[in-house]
Symmetry: C2
Amino acid sequence: MSPAKTPMGAARGAIIPVGGAEEKMSDARILRRFVGLCGGQEAKIAVIATASQLADTGDRYEALFTELGAGRVRSLPFETRADCDNPELLDKLVRATGVFMTGGNQLRLATTLGGTDVARTIRTLNAAGVPVAGTSAGAAFLSEHMIAHGEDGAVPRANIVTLAPGLGLTNRVVIDQHFRQRDRLGRLLTALAYNPFAIGVGLDEDTAAFIGPDETLEVVGSGGVTIVDCSNVEYSSMDQVGDHEAVCLIGLRMHILTAGATFNLHTRIATAPHAVAAPS
Amino acid sequence: MSPAKTPMGAARGAIIPVGGAEEKMSDARILRRFVGLCGGQEAKIAVIATASQLADTGDRYEALFTELGAGRVRSLPFETRADCDNPELLDKLVRATGVFMTGGNQLRLATTLGGTDVARTIRTLNAAGVPVAGTSAGAAFLSEHMIAHGEDGAVPRANIVTLAPGLGLTNRVVIDQHFRQRDRLGRLLTALAYNPFAIGVGLDEDTAAFIGPDETLEVVGSGGVTIVDCSNVEYSSMDQVGDHEAVCLIGLRMHILTAGATFNLHTRIATAPHAVAAPS
């Protein structure tokens, strides 16, 4: 599954994975920026709380986005695969100028939305210019190869991570979240060691990567984004090691990016915060 | 303090940081290899258990090395700075063909041995060809810049690590231990972010880096060694960030090495396990 085709003349919408636990009470800069991208007062934001086990998650984000000035916000209760055929709900989704997926369990998202009209609609919307954001489990689900679950630790080891197909808005990245807080470098490296084509994006809590249509990712929030670039990997022992043994990986390139720093997923070049001079 | 000068014609002895919790009961491959380097049946190994708070640590390693075939093993009780002037103990140290420092607290080592004849003697011995190993705290103490203590986590943050002067057998590396087990990449990166000249060596438990006189490090043991090479770092925000804020670091190179893999501290080139063909 490759990303849905962008209509002639349209630019793909932003893809916005958030590392979870984004700040909501004071500046809420990640959510505020998302609302702006969706059109601010003109925005129609669809909240999808399928990942969450808590009944009020959708309502909380509805209230939050409304407070942040979004014109209209609707939490759409896709709780079962049957809900994903509900024409009334789908009709609301189709009109959205922004989609936000909450945290919870990314396998709830994949098993409920996978292969349904909801997934197809979100992919089509994004290809036509609509921003799609997800926090925590919602972030993991955005890309083609999703980390379903795994074990903690800094070093890659055989079989400590389980990959599953995700929503597929992009296949350039493998996303992990709560990154610093849950010590997840090892499982991200393990995911990349299988096939080094993808770029690893490890998001700390309260930190987001805004991936624009130009494939440039910008960091927003209070933490760091760990970028792992495997394009120059010279050797991986992943095909040879036994269960839970450490994997040998030679030639990783890594950047720790903070707010304002960028990374281009095409050129694989990182820039420091404020590296671009303000117009004089 | 730079490493002691190697006498004409002599090669420096191996420097062997061990990540702690090295296997002692079955193959004991790290300790066995160390005994071999020290001369096997001809070896005279000095054990320094200064870092440990346990009274029997020195005796345990004495028994262990004897079991592994070392000719003579002596635990030398340098417990106070006054002990470090004891001519009888120093005389035994001078005759050693191998020195092993146990785990415990690296600040016990630095505060007790620092600037004494014991430190000077170990440096001179190593420069003249005697292997010097240390496990856990003993490993941290080996290099010029020692991680005294720090906080866990995968991302570098301002002020999460405290550096102190170590024994100074080499200044090319900053060593960290229990690496995977205690999630220490962030503190190692923080230490390197101050001044990217050094190479970061993160040792998992039961894993050692045997650094030969040719500055080539070889991995021995069941875990991984994480090498962080900052020589191409393009940007570090370490001078600008507030306390505990994430540090932006662009252009890190990293290798995860397992048993048999090597890394040359001069050329900064890593080789995979078994990359060197066996003689035909």
